[in-house]
């Protein structure tokens, strides 16, 4: 009969209403990320897109992989884009991540052709981002757009 003591006590606390007593209570931590494209640098064999990552959630996350494709405004695929090195994002923090797009003759030609009508164009990068969150592997959609100017590619044109 001893075990009835705490049970009667808690039932009395909840006015003999069993349903709220058995209802699990959980408030998940806030999670969220923002990606904004920043500076674009062209090197001999690759285009480096610096992205500012913002973790406005309460949990540390590590961006360890980006598998994406860069598209022109006409939805023409330019090249594959990947993450240069993993980035650890502490809760409520911002950090830069470098995305690299390998350049070859065909990509260079496609990009230079974009500037025949305008001095700058928008490139959209879409794909999947791989994150490590508290020991779990999370795959989420990844999308970022950036402005590519003619002068960003002057080095390429010269080459």
């Amino acid at each position: 009969m001893l075990f009835l003591g705490p049970i009667i006590f808690v039932l009395n606390q909840y006015n003999w209403n069993i349903s709220p007593l058995l209802q699990p209570e959980y408030s998940p931590p806030k999670m969220g990320f923002n990606v904004n494209a920043g500076e674009v640098k062209a090197e001999a064999d690759k285009l480096i897109i610096i992205c500012e990552l913002e973790n406005y959630g309460e949990i540390k996350a590590e961006l360890y992989e980006v598998q994406a494709t860069a598209y022109t405004l006409n939805h023409e695929a330019l090249a594959q884009v990947c993450l240069e090195s993993p980035v650890v994002l502490q809760p409520n923090s911002r950090k830069d991540a470098a995305l690299t797009m390998p350049l070859n003759d065909s990509v260079n030609q496609k990009m230079l052709s974009l500037f025949q009508e305008a001095n700058e164009t928008t490139i959209k990068v879409t794909g999947q981002a791989g994150l490590k969150v508290m020991g779990s592997k999370v795959t989420a959609p990844f999308e970022v757009s950036f402005q590519l100017k003619m002068e960003d590619l002057t080095g390429l044109a010269r080459d």
Binding site: L21, L22, E25, G135, K137, V138
Partner: protein
């Protein structure tokens, strides 16, 4: 009968009862889980579930999941086990008294059986909710997709040493009850010739 005599130290103490009571006392005062589930990597856990009849700890992404009734059920189980340990200890220290046999409690055996049965049922229900087979002990992976976000969590469940200690305590309490009966029978056998002698001398 010789073994019974040894295990009762010449009908003075029910040794198995003392062992059982000590184990029950340790279990009810310890806050160690009987069954655990850990999801994530070795260093970081997305999901932790540590459960025993006396404690309940579930954390998802570092935040606790609580059920208001659980701490009171844990307290009820703790009180029952403490009482069972104390009555078993009292009975074991007086093995020749006929009124002490019911004091040797078998609740120590019932609890691990109820616990494991409850855990299996809870895993079946939880598994059917998330669409995977959750093993009682072993490795598996939880994967789910919400709004194009896919998460994969390597996880492992295990029955801890505390559970096996509880099983040993339970089995020992059954043996202690049997031993208590034998000790009583032995003491009554000794008393009967003594009574006969006293009648003859009168």
């Amino acid at each position: 009968m010789q073994i019974a005599n040894i295990l009762t130290m010449g009908k003075r103490i029910n040794l198995l009862g003392v062992i059982s009571a000590s184990l029950l006392l340790y279990l009810s005062l310890s806050n160690e889980p009987w069954w655990t589930l850990k999801g994530g990597s070795e260093t970081e856990c997305t999901l932790i579930a540590e459960i025993s009849p006396f404690m309940f700890n579930i954390q998802i992404l570092g935040k606790p999941l609580t059920i208001p009734a659980i701490p009171y059920l844990n307290l009820a189980a703790k009180l029952v086990m403490l009482l069972a340990a104390l009555t078993t200890l009292t009975g074991s220290l007086l093995p020749t008294k006929p009124w002490t046999k019911p004091l040797i409690s078998l609740k120590g055996l019932a609890l691990p059986i109820i616990f494991i049965a409850g855990t299996i049922v809870a895993l079946k229900i939880a598994g059917s909710q998330i669409g995977i087979d959750l093993p009682l002990a072993g490795n598996f992976a939880i994967s789910y997709t919400i709004n194009e976000v896919n998460a994969e969590i390597p996880a492992a469940t295990c029955i801890t040493a505390e559970y096996w200690i509880a099983c040993i305590a339970g089995v020992t309490s059954v043996l202690a009850k049997v031993l208590q009966g034998k000790a009583l029978a032995l003491s009554q056998k000794v008393q009967q010739p003594a009574k006969q002698w006293s009648v003859i001398s009168l």
